[in-house]
C-alpha cells in the first residue's frame, strides 16, 4: 500500500514536479484524499520518502557503474560513474530535480535523507582513495590551499574521506560539483539550441575533469 502510493506519486512527480497533489494521487488510486493521511502524515513525509528512494536509486546506479570496469582503470570507472548518474537523471528528470533542484520552500530535509544523499559523492571520492592506495594517482601539491581551507578539508577528510589529502579532496569536490552542473544544465534546458551531441559533450567535459583531478590515462 505504501509502495502503491509512492508509485502513483512518482508518476505525478513527472508532470507536477515538487508540488504534486495528494488529492490527485488519491483520486488515481480510487481513494478519498483523507485516506492517504493514514499512511503519510503529511505531504512532506511523502516527499521525503520519495527523496530517500531516489537518492538510493541514484546511489545504486553510480556504485554499480563504478564497480563495472577493471578495478585499476580509474578513468574508465570515473567515466562510468558519471555516465550512470547522467543516465539516471535523464530517465528520472523529475526525481533528479527533486534531489538537486531548488529546495522546496518550507520543506526541510530530515536527517534520514543525508546518508543516502552522500552515496554518490562518496563513491566518486572512493575512486580517488583507491587511486592513492594503488599508486595510480598522485596527489596535487599540498601548498596550493590557503590555511583555513586546508584545515576545513582535512577535517572533512577525517570524517568522511579518510586518507584523502585536502588538495585532492578539493579537486574531487570540483568533479562532483561539475558533474552536478553538467547534468543540471542539460536537464534544465540550458543546452537547448546549443549542443546537439549531448553524449559527446558530456563525455568530453567529464574527461576534462578527470584531467583536472589527475586520473591517469589508460595505457
Amino acid at each position: 500500500m505504501l509502495d502503491e502510493i509512492k508509485t502513483v506519486a512518482r508518476q505525478h512527480l513527472a508532470t507536477d514536479g515538487a508540488n504534486l497533489s495528494l488529492r490527485a494521487v488519491a483520486r488515481d488510486m480510487g481513494m478519498v484524499s483523507s485516506a492517504i493521511y493514514r499512511y503519510f502524515p503529511s505531504r512532506d513525509d511523502l516527499l521525503t520518502a520519495l527523496i530517500i528512494e531516489a537518492y538510493n536509486a541514484l546511489g545504486d546506479a553510480v556504485e554499480a557503474a563504478a564497480a563495472g570496469p577493471d578495478r585499476l582503470d580509474l578513468r574508465a570507472r570515473w567515466h562510468a560513474a558519471c555516465r550512470a548518474a547522467r543516465d539516471w537523471a535523464l530517465t528520472h528528470p523529475a526525481e533528479y530535480a527533486l534531489l538537486y533542484g531548488s529546495p522546496v520552500p518550507g520543506y526541510a530535509a530530515p536527517d534520514d535523507t543525508v546518508s543516502p544523499a552522500q552515496r554518490p559523492p562518496l563513491t566518486l571520492v572512493g575512486l580517488l582513495r583507491e587511486g592513492l592506495e594503488t599508486g595510480l594517482l598522485s596527489p596535487p601539491p599540498a601548498d596550493e590551499l590557503s590555511t583555513p581551507l586546508h584545515d576545513d578539508l582535512t577535517e572533512l577528510a577525517d570524517v568522511f574521506f579518510t586518507g584523502i589529502p585536502p588538495a585532492l579532496l578539493a579537486r574531487g569536490m570540483a568533479g562532483w560539483t561539475q558533474l552536478f552542473g553538467l547534468i543540471s544544465f542539460e536537464l534544465f534546458g540550458r543546452l537547448n539550441q546549443t549542443v546537439a551531441h549531448r553524449d559527446e559533450y558530456f563525455d568530453h567535459q567529464v574527461g576534462l575533469l578527470a584531467d583536472l583531478i589527475g586520473l591517469p590515462q589508460p595505457r
Copy 2:
C-alpha cells in the same frame, strides 16, 4: 504601479519561492486579488517579469565586475566576475533559485528571457576572446574534440561566440557550468557541515577552473 507589485512580489519570493501567491501580494498592497490581473495577465507573467529583472541584475553585476580590474589581467577579471555572480546569488537566493533551480512545473520561459539569460555566460566567454586577441591566452589543442562535438561547437561559436575555437569554448562552458554548480551547492545547502570557509573554497575552485581554461597567472 508595476514596479510596486514587482517589489512586493520579490519579497514574497524570498519566503515562498517560486509558488508565491498573487493574493498575498495583493493583500500586502491593500488591494484585492483581482486588481493585480489588470497589470499582470497571469501569475506566470509576473514570474516572467521577475525572471527578466533578475537576469539583468545578475548580468549587470557580472559585467561590471569583469570590467573592474586591469583589462589585461584576465585571471583577476575571471575571479571578479565569478565572485560577483556568487555575491549576487548569496544576496538574492530566491531569485537565483528562480533562474537556475529546477524549472517551475508547467511554466515555459518565453523568448523575452533568453537574451538576458545569456549575458553572464557571454561576459565570461568574452574574457576568452579578449585573451585570444591580446595573445595572453593560447587555445588548447584542437584535436581533443570528437568530430560531431567539434562541429557543434564551431556552429555555436559562429552564432554567439565568434572567433572562439571549439576546444576553448568547451573549456569556457566547463567554467560556466562549474560556476553554476559551485553557487548552487553552496546555496542549496550542500556545503553545510562540510566547508566552513566558503569564500576561500569558492576562490580555490574558481582558480582551478582558471587553470583548466588556461588563464595566465598574473606576473
